[in-house]
């Protein structure tokens, strides 16, 4: 899309006022979304998106600009405008780029989505949707959708890097709404991949996923309101990992740490969790929703251990924030698209297996809450204070999982909750989600085995737990 010669002109224009690094990020994206609502194809869209972002760094300052006008005139003007934010002499002049590299593909797509008959995809979605509709007459709205996207990302930078990456992601989702006696309950489920159509067709059971979604929707519709107060809470594997993602993952990102705005700033090689906790961020898992062939600065993705036996051993670091921290990047620089300057973000982030079993954890809990899954949550990285809203939760009585409860919200502090994990099972699982932060919304996996938090504040309208 942009010739090497033009890229070279852009880089050198960007650096003419003394910038010490310049980068061009170009993307070309084709996507398609199918959506079925209440048994009919409601929409089918295939938007096209192109764009370019130019970044100049000088010491601890960054300048970023973007446009979707990829003409020579527009890009050189953008580089020139951005360079005017500095007023020094040119220090670096690039004479050519190294030969084009292709990012190593870590995922494999056997059946590309654009080669599948659209009717097959539509029937597939309708079958799943029917499962939810047929489950109960209290289910009043249903929808199912499939999204896939192919993109070509090209990066040039003033270190001579010229690299491109063919990316593909896809996600299938189902949602339903149940209504009865003035109560309304929505329920959503999704699964994403970097593999092809074969993943949805053969590796997961979409009908079963939809059936379970409807079942849970009705269970939660009829559930009582969650009791409140401080109590032991067992968090389910897979989606339960959103707890670690929000409360501990975000504060371990260099964007906050480098400025001292994180509760984990200055805690490297110090204990930040109970000694049974080991945690990783791994962008290299083949076909996983949060993996990448290269990060959005063109670096090779890593598997990074963040917490080892309770000790903080690393942060997720991008090259810009790494400057302030005097620490090299570790392949964690990501962005939603060309409209965002990249920064340190998570990929597939999880707490590793422990030595207990799920049964042992439940049995060891006399009175408490079992949160299987969450709708999501948020965290203030500077204070570490977080909240999660449970989408599926049950009361544990005398070591047994009992009645379901709705509206459980867990709140606490990231730097305290990690010390309060007292049991970790061996059933690690990962689940797909979207994570929103400074550099936009990106696909990530969260994960953990079933684990127990000794005590945490639970909010709910159901009075005291008895």
């Amino acid at each position: 899309m942009i010739s090497n010669k033009l890229a070279l002109d852009i880089i050198n224009t960007a650096l003419k006022t003394g910038g010490d690094f310049a980068e061009i990020y170009i993307e070309n994206i084709d996507s398609t979304t199918f959506r079925i609502e209440n048994t009919k194809v409601d929409s089918l869209v295939s938007p096209k998106k192109i764009g370019c972002g130019i970044r100049i760094l000088k010491d601890l300052q960054s300048v970023y600009g973007y446009t979707n006008d990829l003409s020579k005139k527009s890009l050189l003007k953008l580089a020139d405008d951005l360079s005017k934010r500095f007023n020094g002499e040119q220090k670096i002049k690039l004479s050519n780029f190294k030969p084009l590299k292709h990012a190593k593909q870590i995922s494999h797509m056997e059946i590309p989505f654009d080669q599948v008959d659209k009717k097959e995809i539509i029937e597939f979605l309708k079958d799943g949707e029917k499962q939810m509709r047929d489950y109960s007459s209290d289910i009043v709205r249903t929808s199912a959708s499939l999204f896939y996207e192919y993109s070509l990302i090209t990066i040039f930078n003033s270190n001579g890097l010229h690299i491109d990456d063919h990316r593909n992601i896809a996600r299938i989702s189902a949602s339903c709404v149940a209504s009865k006696d003035n109560k309304v309950q929505p329920q959503f489920v999704a699964k994403g991949t970097k593999a092809g159509w074969e993943f949805f067709k053969n590796e997961i059971n979409f009908n079963e996923m939809c059936h379970k979604n409807a079942e849970l929707c009705i269970t939660m519709l009829n559930a009582k309101e969650c009791p409140s107060g401080k109590m032991p809470v067992v968090i389910g594997n897979g989606w339960g990992g959103v707890l670690f993602h929000e409360s501990c993952g975000h504060p371990l990102e260099a964007s906050g740490v480098s400025k001292g705005l994180s509760c984990f700033a200055g805690k490297l090689y110090q204990p930040i969790a109970s000694p049974i906790v080991n945690a990783y961020d791994d962008a290299t898992i083949p076909n996983a929703w949060g993996s990448s062939n290269m990060d959005d600065e063109g670096h090779t993705p890593h598997k990074t251990q963040l917490i080892k036996n309770g000790i903080c051993v690393d942060y997720l670091t991008d090259s810009f924030n790494g400057r302030r921290m005097k620490k090299p990047e570790n392949g964690a620089s990501r962005r939603q698209d060309f409209k965002y300057e990249p920064t340190s973000r998570m990929s597939n982030t999880y707490i590793d297996n422990g030595t207990s079993t799920k049964d042992e954890i439940i049995k060891a809990t006399k009175l408490g809450l079992y949160c299987v899954s969450f709708n999501g949550g948020s965290v203030d990285p500077s204070t570490g204070e977080f909240n999660f809203g449970a989408s599926e939760a049950y009361i544990i009585r005398d070591g047994k999982i009992c009645e379901p409860v709705r509206g459980a919200t867990l709140i606490g502090k990231g730097d305290e909750i990690l010390f309060n994990i007292d049991m970790i099972a061996n059933d690690l699982d990962l689940a797909d989600g979207m994570c929103g932060a400074a550099s936009g919304s990106i696909p990530v996996q969260v994960g953990q085995p079933t684990l127990r938090i000794k005590e945490i504040t639970v909010g709910g309208a159901g009075g005291k737990l008895k």
């Binding site: 009919k40 300048v63 600009g65 446009t67 709404v177 409140s228 919200t409």
Partner: protein, 440 residues
């Protein structure tokens, strides 16, 4: 950029698209943030996009692209035709001929562009200094400025052509304060398109003092309390409640307000308007279908006066669109702007003075996970203060406010007189008779 709309409509018609609509949008933005007495980030952008809708084989197709070149019209037309082959829903096939009259709104201020970027950036350094100077316990400050300008033009094959132009700036700051090893954070944002309206001294003092007051919080005992909600909290909650007035939610059976038109749905003390023609940067003369907007009463003395309609849902209920058709992905959904709650007579201070024991909520978070706008149930992490014997006393943290929006707005003790603009919402503080608060 000059777009030849008629060329697009002709191409569409030639290929069998009966009626069509084309929208061109262009945006430009400039942002800057400072940290530790230096510019931390600076960004500038200009983007544009084309969005088209068209009726082909009795269904509405949609397409959009930002790859704007001589082939864009072909791409849009072909993509509408391709998608129409599969779409089975044909109740939303309306391209609008136009409203009789459109009222002008003033959402663009050209003076904003005439102020130099350096002057705007200098303001950030002034803010940073004032915040640090306020109190030595203020430890970290991030201050930012962002400015956006947007122009859009919507035209259709019936000859309707409408333009809108908006610009605004935002100044935001996030501060953390530290005392006894405890950290608290506080942020605020100011938005307008008149640069002279920003009162730096007042804004900085308010923000910094809010942060300092939060230091050394306690956790309150779980229980039911009288709860006074500040304007920001009321703004978030009333906007969530109003999503249930969407006729689409009603028609699809997922709103709790089914069959509630002209019935009591809230306290008699509550009157709510939507005023899209209000003089501010959020004003809109027409919605995304080209329907003229108008100011209206949504809830009067607790009685629901209207559902909100776009063209499709209005046709189903045999009524007129209320000008609330807003693009949501490829479909026209329903939304609203400029919600206003009618203020009461009692001042905030007087209201507080009458509370023997209660809680003043100043911040709620985790809305996307903790609030179910369809059922109205919420369990939200909150911050605020204890009210004891008519006075606001200790700061609170790590508490959860629980309730149901519909019950809560039925359970109003007092609507205060202190209306404040919170983005596009103008609301006063509201005292609720009883709400559950979880803490210790």
């Amino acid at each position: 950029m000059k777009i030849n709309y008629n060329q697009f409509f002709k191409l569409a018609k030639d290929k069998g698209i009966e009626e069509s609509e084309l929208k061109y949008t262009s945006n430009s933005s400039f942002e800057c943030s400072i940290f530790s007495h230096d510019i931390d980030s600076y960004s500038a952008s200009s983007t544009s996009s084309l969005t088209a809708r068209g009726i082909y084989n009795n269904v509405m197709g949609f397409s959009n692209t930002n790859d704007i070149n001589k082939d864009s019209f072909d791409y849009l037309v072909n993509s509408i035709i391709e998608s129409s082959k599969y779409i089975e829903k044909n109740d939303d096939t309306i391209i609008f001929k136009g409203s009789k009259k459109y009222k002008k709104v003033h959402t663009f201020n050209k003076d904003l562009e005439n102020i130099s970027k350096d002057e705007k950036i200098k303001k950030l350094f002034d803010i940073e200094n004032k915040l640090y100077e306020f109190d030595p316990r203020i430890q970290n400050v991030i201050v930012g400025y962002s400015e956006n300008s947007k122009e859009s033009q919507i035209a259709n094959s019936y000859g309707l052509k409408l333009k809108s132009k908006t610009n605004y700036y935002q100044i935001y700051a996030q501060v953390t304060a530290k005392d006894n090893g405890q950290v608290v954070s506080e942020g605020d944002m100011f938005i307008d398109n008149d640069f002279s309206k920003f009162d730096i001294d007042k804004w900085c003092d308010e923000l910094a003092s809010k942060a300092i007051k939060k230091l050394n919080p306690i956790q309150v005992k779980s229980g039911k309390y009288k709860v006074l909600l500040n304007q920001e909290t009321v703004a978030t909650l009333i906007n969530k409640l109003l999503t249930s007035t969407s006729s689409e939610e009603i028609q699809k059976g997922s709103s709790i307000l089914i069959n509630k038109l002209n019935q009591q749905i809230a306290s008699k003390k509550l009157t709510v308007y939507e005023k899209p023609l209000e003089k501010n940067i959020f004003a809109r003369s027409f919605d995304d279908e080209g329907v003229a907007t108008y100011n209206k009463e949504l809830i009067k003395n607790g009685v629901l006066k209207t559902y909100l309609y776009n063209l499709t849902t209005a046709k189903k209920d045999n009524v007129e669109s209320t000008g609330n058709g807003y693009m949501s992905g490829p479909k026209i959904g329903i939304s609203f702007t400029n919600v206003i709650i009618k203020p009461g007579r009692q001042s905030f201070d007087e209201t507080v003075s009458k509370i023997k024991k209660g809680i003043y909520i100043t911040e709620i978070s985790g809305i996307h996970a903790g609030l179910n706008s369809q059922s109205g149930e919420f369990n939200l992490q909150s911050q605020g203060y204890l009210i004891e014997d008519g006075k606001i006393t200790k700061p609170l943290s790590l508490i959860v406010l629980s309730g149901n929006l519909f019950e809560m707005f039925n359970n109003i003790a007092t609507i205060c007189s202190d209306s404040k603009d919170v983005l596009d919402t103008r609301v006063p503080s509201i005292l609720i008779k009883k709400l559950s608060v979880s803490g210790k």
